[in-house]
Symmetry: C2
């Protein structure tokens, strides 16, 4: 089966329109801060949320709204997380009502998300005006504006779309996403909004999302901080005309494959654009004794401040990789582990059976000066594998976060 | 009972001599790299070690040497961790033999530690010459040189000593320690070598050490990376002449109090001198539903890169503190939590019952510009408490670790 990337983001699937504008939540007028995605037909819907005990009001409202597996539109603002505010739920609900009114749908049919500073009361005035202004602007070309409007410290828009053929129907999945700090591998991370024109039941949509999230978004770490507002949502409007996917059959498997491809791509984009990042890091663990061990080891390495700073400095300080493997909270043997470092400039093995190997520092330097670094860990004690993505830790991460609010 | 700080470090207790020299493991000739501590009388001894599955050869050798609860001397080098080297155990054992010969004791009576780069074969030539040169130089004034010789990226020597009276005897405890990166709160951390002239059984020494380590060294975090070579050791030579402490009586409690005071002081020193640090952070959690919850919450906040960078920027971004509380892996309620920020410049409450409070940004800035910041978290749901220590995350952390090996 062929899976092809296409342009158009969340509007690539049939029947979706989107848009994004600056409404005034952010002071910088050149920065869009309000996005809407709308399906002409009501969708089956599913979402996964942050596991943080502190969660944004929009998370609570969305969880309630899509409990029945249906949604019709999505609204998201940047510049304010609407979290830890006493009036948060009330205001998130009001945002849904205003959006519903502007789009002619039910307020309970809306997925809502907010991202930005925690604990500052959100001003409804620009949002009210913004929703009224944005609703008539939604179009099939609007994915890019929506992707821009949900950015916080991201430096690049993140969009992707994938198509595949199921029987006689072309099915398309599209998505936008945002990083780029307060991202931890332990849980559902960041914001990613996925659309599809596949016909698929809410139950199967939820199963597909959970399966893919565990291997993609949940394997991403920028800084080990799990945000209060993380959410990945998916809306399926059925306009592709396929026989509805209602069980874990061949169609479901194809859908999961496309969703995994889309989500992996967005995860890589978020890792590469992590706060202050100069390099994308990918840690692939194979030969692990269990899936859990593979994941814990990959995350432990990707999350290590010392590995991340060494990669920033293009320093093949592999002892830090071994150290991070060693404190991963899982059951495994350390004395049969091999480690390789590679990039498009080449590959070197730095560690065999848990001990260091001689290698050329100049070759290592050349490999690590590239912008995408692969850390391959062969555990040689089983069949399980996992991959995690992250980025280096740089001066700019400190700069960005040393005074984020001003 | 009075507990008083005194000078002299590990040589403050009766019968201990120490010293430190540059032997040539490090290229920089002005940097000492070899330390020895020696007791004129054989000691009862105990130690706690890193929980990392990757651990240095010296850890393995020490564990075996003091399994019987006895030690006579300690040797430590900086500049090379002797970890992940195929010949590590052999060389660590040889270091013990050479030290034993120079001091006229048994090789199995030696505590050995190494700190520095992981995975580079350790050169025995400078060490062999260094031990022979250092042994005759050991003196009661040598604690400071020993403290200097175990430093890696530390910028300050870390020494402390405490005395108290038990019956008619003055008992003294002394210690040296080193940070300052690859320090995580989950386990035994860094190197700290404690001496005392108390008479105390090996069993009680071990019990006292474990009790104190859990509340002090194990509550320290610089970067969340658990080192491969962490160790805290204690040697007690009995020369104070007290009736041996052999049970958990009043004498034991006094000893634990002194040990806690000493260890808290060293923990604070290590936090303040964390790699690149400009500020000491202390997070005190009270009113927690369990000791475990108190510890997890305190560590979660102290370990958050986003809290650490905000403190570097003197930015009262308390939402990040709430976020880090929220993802702490423990059972508790979030909606009754209060948060205060303070320093010697004053105190402000930033959060009540999980929601933000209005506060003066200029007052907050003034408080956070100080070099020691207290984050007080009142959980209002129980009696348990815990304190964790750490530091801010700065440009210099990235600089130090971006190219540590060269």
């Amino acid at each position: 089966m062929n899976f092809n990337k296409v342009s158009g983001g969340v509007c690539a699937p049939k029947g979706f329109v989107a848009g994004g504008i600056h409404c005034g939540i952010r002071k910088n007028q050149s920065k869009k801060d309000l996005a809407i995605i709308f399906s002409e037909k009501e969708c089956t819907a599913a979402a996964v949320y942050t596991q943080n005990k502190v969660f944004g009001a929009p998370i609570a409202v969305t969880r309630e709204n899509i409990a029945g597996g249906k949604a019709h539109a999505l609204i998201c603002n940047s510049g304010n997380a609407n979290t830890c505010n006493a009036d948060g739920i009330e205001k998130a609900s009001l945002m849904c009502k205003l959006t519903a009114k502007a789009l002619g749908i039910e307020a309970t049919d809306i997925i809502i998300a907010s991202t930005g500073v925690i604990g500052q009361p959100i001003d409804m005035d620009p949002i009210e005006k913004g929703i009224a202004a944005l609703a008539p602007l939604l179009s099939a070309d609007g994915s890019s504006d929506a992707a821009e409007a949900i950015m916080t410290t991201d430096t690049k828009k993140k969009e992707c779309a994938v198509t595949f053929r199921l029987g006689s129907c072309m099915i398309t999945l599209g998505a936008i996403a945002k990083g780029s700090g307060m991202i931890s591998p332990n849980m559902a991370t960041m914001l990613s909004f996925i659309t599809t024109d596949a016909a698929i039941t809410a139950e199967m949509l939820k199963a597909a999302l959970q399966e893919v999230v565990d291997d993609t978004y949940n394997m991403l770490s920028v800084d080990g901080d799990t945000s209060t507002n993380d959410m990945v949502s998916i809306m399926a409007n059925g306009l592709a005309g396929n026989a509805p996917i209602a069980s874990k059959d061949e169609g479901f498997e194809a859908f999961v494959t496309a969703l995994r491809m889309l989500s992996t791509e967005l995860t890589r984009m978020m890792a590469a654009d992590g706060e202050g990042a100069t390099k994308l890091l990918q840690c692939a663990v194979t030969g692990a004794p269990s899936k859990d061990a593979a994941k814990m080891v990959a995350k432990s390495v990707i999350n290590s401040s010392l590995v991340k700073t060494a990669m920033f400095g293009a320093d093949a300080n592999w002892g830090r990789i071994l150290c991070a493997i060693g404190y991963a909270d899982a059951e495994f043997e350390i004395d049969c582990v091999d480690v390789f470092l590679s990039s498009r400039a080449g590959q070197i093995q730095v560690c065999k059976d848990g001990f260091g190997l001689d290698f050329s520092e100049s070759v290592a330097k050349k490999i690590l000066l590239e912008s995408e670094i692969l850390i391959d860990i062969l555990m040689n004690q089983g069949e399980a594998k996992a991959t995690a993505w992250g980025c280096d830790l740089t001066y700019d991460y400190v700069k960005i976060n040393g005074d984020y609010r001003t």
